[in-house]
């Protein structure tokens, strides 16, 4: 077992790989009452095509990862939730672009809850009947999202930046795409992406590490240990669709999203997290509440506290999104455009601001560590293998030069796209 200490944060991470390839990560928090456990596969909605060994490539319909997540809870005789309920554990699951996670939190009976988590995720049961029923339920979920204007704006700008790509597809898919899902397809996908070597189990909270490892080791013996190599096939990025799109929607004030797509070689490992940390600070330096830029627009009533910026680096996709609610979106676009063109002069003499923001961002990172859920899920574990504690340490090492280098990568040749949702 590997032990990693974080002295200043007073944290310790225990890491073990089981004989079948399952990765186990544990953080003990003896003063806590709860234990939080998450079993994750880094299979998400972006995975629409894959290949095992020399087999012919297989296409996966949009929305399958999320569909599979729902269906794994249903077994031949009983729902997986029922057993968690009997144990007094709160269970849930989620799917995003790059991972699917199954989790529970409990103050009692950790060991049987953990056995149940490992068992239900690794024991699929799919039938024509249950698949058909789920198509109805998820169909409604898709409609519910379509009624949400914030979701419409987010999907709107993603589709403009990445036309015809998995990134432009709703995580839940469409009613048409999920209609093509069959039990056989789900078994195939489960077989590929849920082999123990594809899974990571995180256990955070109040528990005995040896007892937990023993439990995992025994439970895993009942599953197959064959492991096959999986290749993810990624479509080429298409040219930007258009610079500006407007969609009608019955809302009180226009909602607007701006996007800047960043093309380039995919990054790996710590570089992913470093780029994200630098880009987040860069956006704060240029567009944060404490800047004159923000204050001027705020005073003119062009933006309000709904204004938000974000940098995302998800596998081969790297982009900036900026959201606002405003009727003056043309003025806002101009202001963003100006700031991104003049980024070098905007960053001049900003070393002091950078140091302050960096200190504040580290402070925010420390505050996040209160929550066991954050420790498990707010790191970049599934994207780059960098946990939340590593992230704080990487942040401490960040320099103003890193910001300048990142700014050149992002803003040289930047193309700003705009999506508006309004009446």
């Amino acid at each position: 077992m590997l032990e990693k200490y974080y002295k200043q944060l007073k944290e310790k991470v225990l890491i073990e790989t089981m004989p079948d390839g399952l990765n186990v990560v544990m953080v003990q928090k003896p003063e806590y009452h709860k234990t939080f456990a998450v079993l994750t596969t880094d299979y998400g909605s972006l995975d629409e095509k894959y290949q095992i060994g020399h087999d012919s490539p297989k296409q996966i319909p949009a929305g399958t990862a999320h569909f599979l997540e729902h269906k794994l809870f249903e077994k031949e005789n009983e729902d997986a939730f029922t057993r968690f309920g009997q144990l007094g554990a709160d269970a849930n699951a989620f799917t995003n672009a790059y991972q699917t996670s199954y989790l529970f939190s409990t103050t009692q009976h950790v060991v049987p809850a953990l056995q149940h988590l490992l068992q239900f995720v690794q024991t699929p049961y799919f039938s024509d009947k249950t698949v058909a029923k789920e198509q109805g339920i998820i169909g409604q979920e898709i409609q519910m999202y379509q009624d949400d204007p914030n979701w419409a704006v987010y999907m709107g700008i993603l589709s403009m930046m990445y036309p015809d790509s998995p990134m432009a597809h709703d995580i839940a898919g469409t009613q048409q795409s999920i209609a093509t899902i069959t039990p056989e397809l789900l078994y195939d996908v489960h077989h590929a992406f849920y082999q123990p070597s594809q899974l990571t189990l995180q256990v955070i909270g109040h528990f005995d590490a040896h007892e937990i490892l023993e439990t995992i080791s025994q439970t895993q013996q009942s599953f197959s240990t064959t492991s096959s190599e999986i290749k993810r096939l990624v479509p080429n990025v298409q040219p930007l669709s258009s610079l500006s799109t407007t969609r009608q929607f019955n809302i009180s004030r226009p909602k607007v999203a701006f996007g800047i797509r960043i093309d380039g070689k995919p990054l790996n490992g710590t570089n992913i997290t470093k780029r994200t940390l630098a880009a987040d600070l860069l956006l704060d330096l240029l567009f944060g509440e404490q800047t004159d830029w923000y204050q001027k627009l705020y005073n003119e009533g062009i933006i309000d506290s709904e204004f938000d910026t974000s940098f995302d680096l998800i596998r081969e996709y790297q982009f900036i999104t900026i959201f606002a609610e405003t009727t003056a979106y043309q003025a806002l676009e101009k202001a963003i455009q100006t700031q991104t063109i003049q980024y070098r002069s905007a960053l001049k003499n900003q070393v002091h601001s950078f140091e302050q923001l960096k200190r504040a961002t580290i402070g925010e990172g420390i505050q996040r560590l209160n929550s066991l859920e954050n420790i498990a899920l707010r790191g970049d574990d599934a994207l780059s293998g960098v946990n939340l504690f590593d992230k704080i340490e990487l942040l401490q090492d960040l320099t103003f030069d890193d910001i300048l280098v990142t700014a050149d990568k992002i803003f040289q040749n930047a193309v700003l796209q705009r999506f508006v949702l309004q009446k």
């Binding site: 200043q8 944060l9 003063e31 806590y32 009452h33 709860k34 729902d79 939730f81 029922t82 309920g85 009997q86 144990l87 007094g88 709160d90 269970a91 939190s105 103050t107 009692q108 109805g136 339920i137 409604q140 979920e141 409609q143 519910m144 379509q146 009624d147 949400d148 204007p149 009608q248 929607f249 019955n250 809302i251 009180s252 004030r253 944060g288 509440e289 404490q290 800047t291 004159d292 923000y294 204050q295 705020y298 005073n299 009533g301 309000d304 506290s305 609610e325 302050q356 923001l357 200190r359 504040a360 961002t361 580290i362 402070g363 925010e364 420390i366 505050q367 209160n370 929550s371 066991l372």
Partner: protein, 420 residues
């Protein structure tokens, strides 16, 4: 829970702990919720978030929270029964976890003192520019309630459910009343809040109780006569159900919302049975509404019930296809009837109790939950120990659940439907 009486109507609770890596300071201003003051108090929470004499602009406030190592400074409004709360909170990293954090505690308290007690004024009124901007922000926020159909449906349901006007509007205020406010009238509301509200303060973290007590004493919060507060509201039974339907463009799904009267006396032991009954009906993933209406019959995507202990109502809300509204409500009625008849499994009740106890114990791992519990104890003057709470939940019988379910009486129904 130890309560320090700083002055008449001014209380402090300190919760020392090393479990967390944060320090929390929360201040609650409590007054009777009146139609005439809710909107002003809501706008005050906006002004206090972005401006003070020492920090005139939002930029200055933002810069100060950066200086406080990324502190989260927030203001908000709540309603509990017929009391209205303006709450100011500051969360920051615990001084022991940051470099040079020695002065952080003192700095944090002074910042809060300045933001609350030393506003940016222009004579006997608030600064006109700040006022105008924040008034517009609040109007925008209230208008945007409509954009979230679930929030909107529930706000409409509330409007037709309560007999008293002060419970009908949002705790964030009413658009027309916000529009009528002036920087003068808002200053009057501010003076009222600062001088007459009940003030409850909760501090949580690795702190020394007497240090905190002496800092708060230095704030010199004046003594006040305790306002008459009614944390609990109970409404008489209506002769007939009030119903309202509305059609909205650009939505695919309907929202069905129901308000059921559930008249459990405040602080009565029966509240534990009501809690279990609500979890069994629609308050948990093991509930009848979730398992039967959503999972088995696929009549709704989202469906839940929520027990509003403070006002004596149980809310049911479902997101569903428009052509399933009638069928879904029929099934909801059947599930309620089933509980009233004792038609539920003991093992489900056992699971639900375990889950409620798990949630309760889990609160000890969340500083915000701990603060919430302290505020609630200060407001209601009632404190239930952990062991008492757990044994009361365990003690709820099948018959208790049936009896409390029999109290459910539908009072109002609001349905939001997609317009063709």
């Amino acid at each position: 829970m130890k309560k320090y009486r700083i002055n008449s109507g001014v209380n402090l609770v300190v919760l020392p702990t090393t479990q967390f890596k944060t320090l929390h300071i929360a201040i609650d201003f409590v007054a009777p919720a009146l139609t005439s003051n809710i909107s002003a108090r809501s706008l005050l929470s906006y002004l206090m978030a972005v401006s003070a004499r020492q920090y005139p602009t939002q930029q200055d406030v933002a810069q100060k929270t950066i200086d406080l190592y990324g502190a989260q400074y927030q203001t908000d409004v709540y309603r509990f029964g017929q009391t209205h709360h303006v709450r100011v909170t500051l969360q920051l990293p615990a001084p022991d976890y940051v470099d040079d954090g020695n002065d952080l505690l003192v700095d944090a308290f002074s910042f809060l003192q300045e933001m609350i007690f030393d506003p940016l004024l222009d004579g006997q009124k608030f600064d006109r520019n700040v006022f105008a901007k924040e008034q517009q922000s609040l109007i925008n926020e209230l208008e945007s309630i409509k954009d979230d159909k679930s929030r909107y449906a529930i706000s409409q349901l509330r409007n037709i459910t309560y007999d008293v006007p002060n419970l009908q509007s949002s705790s964030a205020g009413d658009i027309d009343l916000v529009k009528n406010l002036t920087s003068e009238s808002l200053y009057t509301a501010y003076r009222n809040m600062i001088l007459s509200d009940l003030v409850n303060i909760v501090v949580l973290g690795n702190v020394n109780e007497s240090d905190v007590e002496s800092i708060i004493k230095d704030w010199s919060i004046s003594p006040r006569r305790l306002p008459v507060l009614q944390p609990f509201y109970r409404q008489a039974l209506r002769p007939a159900t009030v119903e309202k339907k509305q059609y909205q463009r650009d939505i695919n799904q309907a929202m069905l919302t129901l308000a059921m009267r559930l008249n459990v006396p405040p602080l009565d032991k029966q509240r534990f049975a009501a809690m279990v009954m609500n979890a069994l009906l629609g308050g948990s993933p093991l509930s009848k509404l979730f398992m039967n209406v959503r999972e088995k019959a696929s009549l709704a995507y989202s469906i839940y019930s929520k027990w509003q202990y403070d006002t004596g109502f149980l809310l049911i809300a479902a997101g569903l296809d428009a052509d399933k509204v009638v069928q879904a409500e029929k099934m909801i009625d059947e599930e309620i009837l089933a509980i009233q008849n004792g038609d539920f499994e003991d093992k489900v009740v056992t699971s639900i109790k375990k889950s409620l106890i798990n949630d309760y114990l889990s609160q000890q791992d969340s500083p915000n939950s701990q603060i919430e519990i302290a505020f609630s104890r200060l407001l209601t003057g009632s404190e239930t120990s952990e062991s008492e709470w757990i044994s009361q939940v365990q003690a709820v019988t099948t018959n208790d659940i049936r009896l409390v379910a029999k109290k459910l009486q539908i009072q109002s129904r609001f349905i939001l439907l997609p317009k063709e």
